[in-house]
Amino acid sequence: MRHKYDEKKIRRVIGEKVQFVQGDASAVYGALLAGCSFFAGYPITPASETAELMSKLLPKAGGVYIQMEDEIASMGAIIGASWAGAKTMTTTSGPGFSLMQENIGYACMTETPCVVIDVQRSGPSTGQPTEGSQGDMMQARWGTHGDHEIIALSPNSVQETLDLTIEAFNLSEKYRTPVILLTDGEIGHLREKCVMPEKGEFEIIDRKGPTVGRDKYVPFQADESLVPSMARFGDGYHVYVTGLTHVEKGYPSTSSAEDHDRLVRRLVDKIEKNRKSITMVEKDYQKGSKIAILAYGASARPSAAAVRKLRRKRKKVDFLRLITIWPFPNEEVRELADRVDRIYVPEMNLGQLVHPIREAAEGRAKIIQVPRIGGPLHTPKEIMDAMRKKA
């Protein structure tokens, strides 16, 4: 019994084309439209609303919803279900995201497509459950051990949460990797107009299945795309899946340096070499600007307002908004650093992306952080006041 993408059912379950909903809800709509058929999760503020709505709608759309005993089990379940052929997703916040790190590494190593939504809240530890933050940005890149790459996206609106959830599924299927959607308690709990895209307005990408017979199939052999085709458990292919270093047939190889080097480099290159098609940013540049704001996710909202207000006062300012966070848009940041003298980086944390930004800027512009923690968004005024600082 395999899940079939039933467009009519999904549309019926989603309901109205235009809705006034929270980011947590639009993620559900995006997931359903992308073909998600399995959700396993554990409630945590401010992500629980996604699980709640999923529990109502997913079964009606022909999928399966399970509340697991904790976040580790949730991650384990979505990996297993993905190998059974489903498009899978879980959602959590900081503490749960920390618990998931070992299994996220396992998903990277076994090239398991799945989507993990982290609705970031004030941390560290249990912190402030009902306050949004951008405190897990670096953790999304380095949270699990060992060398690995990851894809992470950050929406700045309810609409974008829907759109990027679809994108997350597509990227995870295309590159056979977990994809992290880094939203936050602000956008997750904000209500905004959300328009369901029509069929044809968005793409649905499915993982490549085997193109050869069972006797010729080599599960972790990749072509020039660096992404191996993926057989589903139950289709009759012999598949051996392990988090240990493995050869192309899937069998563990725990002593060979060459095997390890070959495998891990391919896993990393899979994403590194495809940066161009994974990277998404939004540029709003003005000729002659000497200053810029670089923001992402929730903090991009007051940043946009600050840009609008500055330009109204006839001040020239560039605005770069990162949508793909990892792999980090080095080129785009370097290009901005070439254009201006100072880049201001408002973040709802004590300064996280400001690190790879400095790395990418290579000293071509001064990077000035505008951190904020413990509560709601920066105000546009706070950002504009910070921009009076020259260093």
Binding site: F20, P129, T130, E192, K193, P302, P380, K381
Partner: protein, 173 residues
């Protein structure tokens, strides 16, 4: 550009967040853009609750209130804590039954006792929405009635409609 900022505050259980939601939905039905956010403590009842709504005919970037055009206080604590960040000619609307505030600029309407007289204190927030609609026209009466209808239980529609009308009249509509 018409950007209107509304802040509603009170305590948990008064339907503060729901009111914001209804207002936002009504704005959408009017063909405008809207954004609604809230903040509340972990308690299900009691504790401070606040809802903010931005309505605009253009894209809304900053989704929170910087200077409220309308501030509605449904509890004393809310009034005391949040009366800053207002424009010079902001409308301040308080529940006269629960908030003690004297100033010519403040409009006090007895939301809670009006609701109580109708038989259900819990619809005080809808009385408030009625008054708000009449006093500001920030959403059309048609749209907000539609929004209320889709967000209350079927058997409660009648009392909610009554509550709205009472509020509307009290608001001068």
């Amino acid at each position: 550009m018409m950007r209107k900022e509304i802040r509603i505050a009170g305590f948990g259980g008064q339907g503060i967040v729901l009111s914001g939601f209804i207002l936002g939905q009504a704005a959408l039905l009017d063909g405008n853009n809207a954004v609604q956010s809230q903040s509340y403590g972990p308690e299900a009842r009691g504790g401070a609750a606040k809802s903010e709504v931005i309505i605009s005919d253009e894209k809304i970037d900053y989704p929170r209130v910087t200077e409220a055009d309308v501030f509605i206080a449904m509890s004393q604590e809310a009034y005391d804590k949040l009366q800053g960040d207002l424009k010079e000619r902001s409308l301040i609307l308080i529940d006269k039954d629960l908030v003690d505030a004297s100033s010519k600029a403040i409009k006090g309407i007895p939301f809670t006792s009006t609701a109580d007289k109708l038989g259900k204190k819990i619809v005080a927030n809808v009385v408030m929405l009625g008054a708000l609609t009449a006093m500001t026209g920030i959403v059309s009466k048609d749209s907000i009635l539609k929004a209320i209808k889709t967000n209350v239980p079927k058997k409660a529609i009648e009392i909610n409609m009554k509550a709205f009308e009472k509020g509307y009249k009290l608001g001068g509509g």
